[in-house]
Amino acid sequence: MKPLRALLTAAFVLAAAAAGAVQPDEVTKDPALEARARALSAELRCMVCQNQSIDDSDAPLARDIRLLIRERIAEGETNRAVRAYLVSRYGDFILLKPPFKPETLLLWLCAPLTLMLGALAIVLARRRAPKTTPALTDEEQKRLAEIAGDDAKR
């Protein structure tokens, strides 16, 4: 089903044909700050794209946010502060990893819950199942005797 994905991708390539993800002119001089900026960009969504981080995106908006992040980090802001600022401007939508809050409770608990419920179901199913193999019926005994010959009767 990749064609559609490619189609969607094509839609924004069209909008920003001249750009490309992180551009050489964006890169900060300080490698430590740059690494932080890259890590942060990977957690943020490009809001005009289909499910892409701004780190991967070609869109002009993504570039703007990448530059904004570098500016703020260079001014000495923490990752948390930069993230909080972006959320205040764009909402939770910009976070690729949704925050843990009442609305997303079910989402975050899905994996542990299914795991636990599944385990519980297995335990219950085992308990309900008979402990031993049911004894053979007379008919089955007879067939077994036929198959095994004299050995089975001993």
Partner: protein, 661 residues
């Protein structure tokens, strides 16, 4: 004219699908062999007519018949022939036709190979398959007709989307659809078994080959899609947890779980109800995937609402088959007799654990994919569920499944000996630890997760190998060759598939040790990336059949020595005025140097991103090894249809040759 023939053939196929649904089903209820026999003939005829329809559309595309809307919108006279052909399914209508073609092909296959089946089971399965076919044929005819005409016909077509003008389009969708749709047969078998009220080892033996075929294709299809995205999208990512990718991953997870649980049903007559449930779930996920991708609901809820005809139709198909099969399951499954007792520590127990982890991962992917849609509908709040979420949840569950793989593969049926297995796996465990510690020591302060994944990968691969060694070496070297021949192919298949899991995992781990350089390069300039140096030699232009490339010729050197040449490019398509990125990729051992460029500036400077991706090819090679494992299992004589009946002659001919266990 051929276009109209195609249209009529499709209508006939729908009629035949309805016949295939009703007649064998009635026949099975009345016990009438003549009526039941109609199913096989109808299934084969349906396939023939769908094939005629597909050929008609393919001809229209190949001859650039722009009086057909579908061709006018999605093709161009200057396209190379291969893209004219693959363009048949590079659009909504055509891809649905491909879907139905494969669906009817599987139906015909089941009809041809299903002669050894119990008559009623076969008739009911074909009836179920016919119903699925009828639903999708109706969908095409009523909402997505690829044969619609256009008058007056334009002189030139709108062109195939440039991103799709790639060999990937020729290979990826057919593979993926073979996988998706292959599970329909398993689904139909499950429905038939529920109607019959009987599930046994024989049923599992009939269903498993189809599941294996579907699984092999799906594995290759997902891997192929990932590689296509990797080389075509230009930033070196290979998996994005995109909803469309998730739509293909979910049936794969459910299908993998099914293959394992069907093995338990076949060998030990246990987990029957669960196996049936998984058969339903695997195809349901294929349907959900079709809905997610084809309805447009993903692009935006509003796009879906503005033209809801297709979306609602697919949703109706989805709801009918999923709700219908689950209702049938709820009604008919409880009386199924459970058999085959086993201790918690046993092959069966391990497979149950495998199923628990895989289905939990599957549920998590489903939840994560649909949650933003649901939340927006309920509270209007927009959130994003992206890669970091899936890696932390579903990714973790899949890693856990990998960890238990060697244990499950080495445990005995019914009652296993965990201590014995641990001893047997001692070398593999030690190997995994050595890799882990060595990597941490060498890359001190480097990535954290990657060494763990690499260690786990080593453990999984060595675990598969040590099980092979344990089986083959049991009686010393002199017997090894004979024992190796004597082991059933399905064992070799399992070993290969599990080894492949380790290979893919190693490739994923390798990503963590990669390097990246972003720079504006002038001609003659060199940039280091990982252990290599990349030199920009020349910048030039080149004309293709329907595009123009701005090419940057680069050489890759190691210690001054020439290693490889690459030509990353920006490709400009004139018909749609679009530009795509053509990455320059050189495969060096199992790693790759990956370079993508931006538009060259007037002074000849090229903005470039250079990546060194150690072991990257293993990600996809591992999937190929997994598929090979599936193929080996499929070739196992015990799984072949009618094999028991025909086995006597070859066995006698082989004389006292090695017999499978």
């Amino acid at each position: 004219m051929t276009v109209e023939i195609g249209h009529f053939a499709l209508i006939l196929a729908l009629t035949l699908a309805l016949v295939q649904t009703v007649v064998p089903f009635v026949g099975a209820r009345r016990g009438d062999p003549a009526l039941m026999g109609v199913g096989a003939a109808a299934a084969m005829a349906q396939f023939v007519f769908v094939a005629v329809a597909f050929a008609a559309l393919a001809r229209a595309h190949l001859t650039s018949d722009f009086s057909v809307v579908n061709v006018a919108e999605n093709s161009h006279s200057a396209l190379p022939a291969i893209y004219k052909f693959s363009g048949v399914w590079g659009n909504h209508e055509g891809s649905m036709l491909l879907w139905v073609l494969i669906l009817s092909a599987f139906g015909a296959l089941a009809a041809a190979f299903g002669r050894g089946l119990p008559a009623r089971l076969g008739a009911d399965a074909l009836a179920a398959q016919g119903l699925i076919g009828a639903a999708f044929l109706a969908f095409i005819l009523f909402t997505s007709n690829p044969f619609e005409r256009l008058w007056p016909a334009p002189f030139e077509g709108g062109d195939l989307n440039p991103v799709l003008q790639d060999p990937g389009l020729a290979i990826h969708p057919p593979l993926l659809y073979l996988g998706y749709v292959g599970f329909s047969i398993v689904f139909s078998f499950a429905a038939a078994a529920l109607i019959e009220g009987r599930v046994d080892a024989a049923w599992a033996r009939f269903a498993r080959p189809f599941a294996l075929v579907a699984w092999c294709f799906l594995t290759l299809g997902v891997a192929m899609g990932s590689y296509w995205a990797y080389y075509t999208l230009g930033w070196g990512g290979f998996w994005f947890w995109d909803p469309v990718e998730n739509a293909s991953l979910m049936p794969w997870l459910a299908g993998t779980a099914f293959i394992h649980s069907a093995a338990v049903t076949e060998k030990r007559d246990a987990l029957k109800v669960w196996t049936i449930f998984l058969a339903i779930v695997a195809f349901s996920f294929s349907l959900i995937g079709a809905f997610l991708v084809r309805s447009g609901v993903l692009t935006s809820v509003h796009a879906f609402a503005s033209d809801p005809r297709r979306g609602v139709f697919i949703l109706a198909i989805l709801a009918f088959f999923i709700a219908g099969s689950l209702a049938l399951f709820a009604w008919r499954a409880p009386p199924l007799k459970q058999g085959g007792l086993f201790a918690p520590i046993s092959r069966e127990g391990a497979l149950a654990l495998n199923n628990l982890l895989l289905t939990s991962a599957c549920a998590t992917v489903l939840f994560g994919t649909l949650y933003p849609l649901a939340l927006e509908q309920i509270s209007g709040e927009k959130i994003t569920v992206g890669a970091p979420f899936f890696n932390a949840t579903a990714g973790l569950l899949m890693l856990a499944a990998c960890f238990f793989t060697p244990f499950g593969f080495s445990l005995a049926w019914k009652r296993g000996d965990l201590l014995g297995v641990a001893q047997r796996l001692a070398a593999a465990i030690a190997g995994g630890f050595v890799v882990l510690v060595a990597l941490i020591a060498v890359f001190r302060g480097g990535p954290v997760l990657a060494p763990i994944a690499a260690g786990l990968a080593a453990f999984v691969m060595l675990g598969a190998l040590s099980e092979v060694v344990a089986r083959v070496w049991r009686r010393g070297v002199s017997f090894a060759a004979a024992r190796a021949r004597g082991l059933p192919l399905s064992f070799w298949g399992g070993a290969a598939a599990h080894f492949g899991v380790g290979v893919t995992l190693l490739g994923l781990a390798g990503v963590g040790f990669g390097a990246e350089t972003i720079a504006t390069m002038k001609v003659g300039e060199a940039q280091k990336v990982g252990p290599y140096t990349v030199v920009l030699e020349t910048v030039g232009a080149r004309n293709g059949p329907n595009y123009r490339d701005a090419v940057a010729a680069m050489t890759i050197r190691s210690g001054g020595e020439f290693v490889a040449a690459i030509e990353p490019a920006r490709r400009q398509f004139s018909a749609r005025e679009t530009t795509t990125t053509q990455a320059g990729i050189a495969t060096l051992d199992f790693g790759q140097v990956y370079v993508s460029i931006g538009d060259p500036a007037a002074d000849g400077a090229v903005p470039a991103r250079l990546y060194w991706k150690p072991l990257a090819t293993l990600i996809w090679l591992g999937a190929c090894v997994m598929a090979l494992g599936g193929l080996l299992s499929l070739a196992d004589r015990r799984l072949r249809f009618g094999a028991p009946a025909r086995a006597k002659a070859p066995a006698a001919a082989a004389g006292a040759g090695a017999r499978p266990q």
